[in-house]
């Protein structure tokens, strides 16, 4: 089954994150955005989510929300209670989203959600310099 990623958060988190990912990874049609704007209500946000889900009956949807407990998280989680093809993750970063674009359709939606979380953990680092340079593993070659 095909997986859609729907980025959603307060303000322009979603469009900002999508533009950030597109700068590096190019445009991807399976990456969608829903901004939660000041003029939105919980109902209008939910409607936006539902219209995406209805427009893609063949796909599972993983919602990538900005914040645990926020309204986008609440609306997406509410929908996921009655729809088994919906997963919700929060706080996922650029590295994880980019990496998931390569292989997202090889996963089920729950696997994709787990992958996003793992890759976010791996790529969240405190930079300390100087870094030790990489070990040379090859014996022959250059």
């Amino acid at each position: 089954m095909k997986n859609l990623l729907v980025l959603s958060g307060h303000g322009q988190y979603a469009t900002g994150l999508a533009s950030n990912v597109a700068f590096i990874a190019g445009e991807h049609e399976d990456l969608m955005v829903v901004d939660f704007q000041l003029e939105d209500t919980e109902d209008t946000l939910k409607q936006k989510y539902e219209s995406i889900i209805e427009a893609h009956p063949e796909s599972s949807v993983v919602f990538v929300c900005d914040l645990v407990g926020g309204t986008p998280f609440r609306c997406a989680t509410g929908i996921s209670r009655t729809n088994p093809n919906i997963e919700v993750v929060c706080g996922v970063n650029t590295a994880a989203i980019m990496e998931s674009l390569f292989m997202k359709d090889t996963f089920s939606a729950p696997e994709l959600a787990q992958f996003l979380i793992e890759k976010t953990h791996e790529s969240c680092v405190h930079v300390r310099l100087p870094q030790k340079s990489r070990t040379m593993l090859e014996v022959d070659g250059i």
Binding site: I24, G26, Q131, D140, I142
Partner: protein, 158 residues
């Protein structure tokens, strides 16, 4: 014969687009940055090592060293060669490095350059280098990221 899968011109060398997109699409396990300044700059090397994907090793050689030792690459080294300028690529080709295809990614705007593509700006010296590369039988491609279509290469020559 070294397995050079692709050569890219990118003034940022190993950065986001190269590390997360191209390395994977190309299927490289060795990112070789051929650049005289970086070969002597451990700080820039360490930052690029942090960007590089875990499945690939990195090397930072001068142009001259690259020419000298590229033929000692082992069969299992799948090389993604990364250069800053077309002039450097031309030096490699003239020095005997078997480069078949060059992907032109980022060449930033600078005094005297004009923009020919979203991320590519060139001047007369670049045009000359691209013409020579073409005459030497090197395939050229303007493409910023793998998922976007290639731009018209004829823009490189005028």
């Amino acid at each position: 014969m070294p397995n050079i899968l692709l050569t890219r011109i990118d003034n940022r060398l190993i950065h986001g687009q190269v590390a997360t997109q191209w390395s994977k699409v190309v299927g490289a396990n060795l990112l070789l940055v051929a650049n005289d300044a970086v070969a002597d700059d451990e700080f820039r090397q360490s930052l690029m090592d942090m960007a590089a994907p875990s499945f690939a090793q990195t090397r930072y050689f001068t142009i001259e060293k690259t020419i000298k030792i590229i033929n000692r690459a082992s069969e299992s080294q799948l090389i993604f060669l990364i250069c800053e300028t077309p002039q450097d690529v031309l030096r490699l080709v003239k020095g005997g490095v078997p480069i078949k295809k060059v992907n032109i990614g980022n060449m930033h705007m600078a005094e005297g350059k004009h923009q020919i593509s979203k991320a590519v700006c060139i001047d007369d010296a670049d045009i000359q280098a691209f013409k020579e590369l073409k005459e030497l039988g090197v395939e050229l491609e303007i493409r910023r990221v793998p998922s976007e279509p290639a731009d018209d290469i004829n823009k490189l020559f005028k």
